[in-house]
C-alpha cells in the first residue's frame, strides 16, 4: 500500500514539474515559434545540401530526419535547463521536498512531449519534401517514442550537468551528441525499415532504442539528485 502511495506521489510530483515546464513553454511559444521553424529549416537545408536529388534524399530521409531531431533535442534540452537557471529555480526545486528522481522524470517528460510534437511535424514534412512514404506506421511510431524517451532523458540529465555554467550552450552538444550515437544509428535503421528504403529488422532496432531509453532514464534518476545539490 505504501509503495503504491509512493508511486502516486512520484508520478504526481513528476507531473507537476512536467506541467510547469510545458506551461512555461506554451506561454513563451518557444517550441512553436522557434524550435519548429528551426526543424523545418534544417530539413530544407538538407535538401539544398544534397542538391535536391530526389532519389538521394529519399534514401537519406531516415538519417536526415534523425539528425534534425538530434539538433532539436540539443535546443530543447538547453531551453529546459534555462527554465531552472533563472531566479534560483533549481534551489526551489531542491527545497520543494520532492524526490530528485521525480523532478528529473518531470523535466525529461516535458522535453519528450516537445520532441514528439516536433516529430509529429517533421516526419510528415520529410515524407512530403523528400518524396518518401511510410510503409509501417506502428514501426515508425514505436521508433519515435522509444528514441524520444532516450533522447529526452540523456538531454535532460546532461543539460543539468552544464546548468548555470557560462559556456553551457557550447558544451552541451559536445556531451549529448556522442552519447546519442546509438539513437541516431538505431532510429535511422528502424525508420529505413518503416519507410521501406532498406529491409532491415526494424523492430530489433526499436528494442535497442528501448534499451538506451531504459539505461538513460535509470542513470538520470540516480544522478539528478547529486547534480541538483552540487551544481
Amino acid at each position: 500500500m505504501s509503495a503504491w502511495r509512493a508511486m502516486r506521489t512520484f508520478a504526481g510530483d513528476a507531473g507537476l514539474v512536467a506541467a510547469k515546464d510545458l506551461r512555461i513553454e506554451w506561454r513563451a511559444r518557444t517550441t512553436l515559434g522557434q524550435v519548429l521553424p528551426f526543424a523545418l529549416l534544417v530539413l530544407v537545408l538538407f535538401g539544398f545540401a544534397l542538391d535536391a536529388n530526389r532519389p538521394a534524399l529519399r534514401l537519406a530521409t531516415p538519417g536526415l530526419l534523425w539528425m534534425t531531431v538530434l539538433f532539436v533535442t540539443v535546443v530543447a534540452a538547453q531551453r529546459s535547463v534555462a527554465l531552472e537557471s533563472a531566479d534560483g529555480a533549481r534551489r526551489v526545486l531542491l527545497l520543494s521536498g520532492m524526490a530528485p528522481a521525480a523532478a528529473f522524470a518531470g523535466k525529461a517528460a516535458a522535453v519528450a512531449v516537445q520532441l514528439l510534437a516536433v516529430e509529429a511535424l517533421v516526419v510528415p514534412g520529410a515524407v512530403l519534401l523528400y518524396g518518401a512514404a511510410i510503409e509501417s506506421v506502428p514501426l515508425v511510431a514505436a521508433a519515435c517514442v522509444a528514441a524520444t524517451v532516450g533522447l529526452s532523458a540523456a538531454g535532460s540529465l546532461l543539460g543539468a550537468v552544464v546548468a548555470g555554467v557560462r559556456a553551457h550552450q557550447t558544451v552541451l552538444p559536445i556531451l549529448l551528441l556522442p552519447v546519442s550515437a546509438p539513437v541516431l544509428i538505431a532510429a535511422t535503421r528502424a525508420f529505413a525499415d518503416g519507410l521501406g528504403t532498406v529491409a532491415v529488422g526494424g523492430w530489433s532496432w526499436v528494442g535497442l532504442l528501448a534499451g538506451f531509453a531504459a539505461v538513460n532514464v535509470a542513470v538520470g534518476a540516480v544522478a539528478y539528485g547529486p547534480l541538483l545539490e552540487d551544481a
Binding site: 558544451v171 559536445i174 550515437a181 535497442l208 539505461v215 542513470v219 547534480l227 545539490e229
Partner: protein, 259 residues
C-alpha cells in the same frame, strides 16, 4: 592600514604547511619509474624497429602493434579508472577517487588519440583506407574518445570543486553506461567487423614479435603508472591550493571585520 594580504599571511609558515603531502609531483620513486620507462621505450623501439622481422601478410605495418595495442589497453584501463572514480565520487564523495577520475581521463584521452592515429596508420596499408566505417572497434573507440573529450571540457569549466566533480562524475557515468550500447549499435549497424581478431590469442605472431609486444605492454604499464602518479599529484595539489585560496580570502574578510 595594513593591506589584508600581509595581515592574513601566517607569518613564517611555509606554503608546504598548508599542503597535505605530496608537496610536489615528483619523488625519488617516480624518478626511478620514469627512468625505467624511458629505458623500456628505447628497448621496445630498438627491438620493434630493428630486430623483429616483417610479417608475412602485413609486412612492416605489423610493427605498429607495439604502440597500438598497449595504448589501446592503456586507454581502456584509464577510462575504467575514470568510470570507477565517477561512481565513487557520487557514492562516497571521495576526493581521492575524483582526482583519480580526472587523471584517468587525461591520460586516457592521450592514449585513445594515440590508438586512433596508430589504428588509422595501420589501416591504410592493410585495409587500403585510413578509416573504415565497418570496423566496430574503430568507430566505438572514436565515440569513446569524443565522450571523454566532453568529460575534460566539463572539467575545464571551473567553479566550485565539488560542483565540478559532480558534473564530471555524471558525464563519466553516462559515458560509461552508454559505451556498451554504442558498441552494440555499431556492431549491428556494420554487421561485420574488419578488425584484426586478437593476433595474440590466435597464436599468429612470431616468438620475437610476441616477446616485444609483451615488453611493450609492460613498458606501457610503467609509462601509464608514471603519468597517472604525476597527474594525480598535480590534481591533488590544485585541490589544496584552491582550498588555501578560500582560507586566505576568508581570513582576509575576518581581519577586515575585526578592525
Amino acid at each position: 592600514m595594513t593591506p589584508p594580504a600581509q595581515t592574513v599571511e601566517p607569518s613564517g609558515s611555509p606554503v608546504v604547511s598548508y599542503l597535505d603531502s605530496p608537496a610536489r609531483a615528483g619523488s625519488r620513486f617516480t624518478r626511478w619509474l620514469g627512468s625505467a620507462t624511458l629505458a623500456g621505450i628505447a628497448a621496445v623501439a630498438a627491438l620493434g624497429l630493428l630486430t623483429v622481422p616483417a610479417d608475412d601478410v602485413q609486412g612492416d605495418a605489423v610493427r605498429i602493434i607495439f604502440v597500438h595495442v598497449p595504448s589501446a589497453l592503456g586507454a581502456y584501463t584509464a577510462f575504467g579508472l575514470t568510470a570507477a572514480g565517477s561512481v565513487m565520487w557520487l557514492w562516497r564523495r571521495s576526493a581521492w577517487w575524483d582526482t583519480t577520475a580526472h587523471a584517468g581521463a587525461e591520460v586516457g584521452v592521450l592514449l585513445c588519440g594515440l590508438t586512433l592515429v596508430t589504428g588509422m596508420l595501420w589501416g591504410r596499408p592493410t585495409w587500403g583506407a585510413y578509416w573504415e566505417w565497418g570496423d566496430v572497434r574503430l568507430v566505438t573507440t572514436l565515440i569513446l574518445f569524443l565522450v571523454m573529450v566532453g568529460y575534460l571540457s566539463v572539467r575545464a569549466l571551473g567553479g566550485d570543486p565539488a560542483a565540478v566533480a559532480t558534473r564530471a562524475a555524471v558525464v563519466g557515468l553516462v559515458g560509461g553506461v552508454n559505451i556498451p550500447i554504442v558498441n552494440r549499435s555499431v556492431n549491428w549497424w556494420a554487421n561485420r567487423t574488419l578488425h584484426q581478431q586478437s593476433s595474440l590469442t590466435e597464436g599468429k605472431l612470431e616468438d620475437l614479435t610476441l616477446f616485444t609486444l609483451f615488453l611493450a605492454l609492460v613498458v606501457a604499464a610503467l609509462a601509464i603508472w608514471w603519468m597517472m602518479v604525476h597527474r594525480f599529484r598535480i590534481g591533488w595539489l590544485e585541490r589544496q591550493l584552491q582550498a588555501r585560496d578560500l582560507e586566505t580570502a576568508l581570513a582576509a574578510r575576518r581581519a577586515e571585520a575585526g578592525r
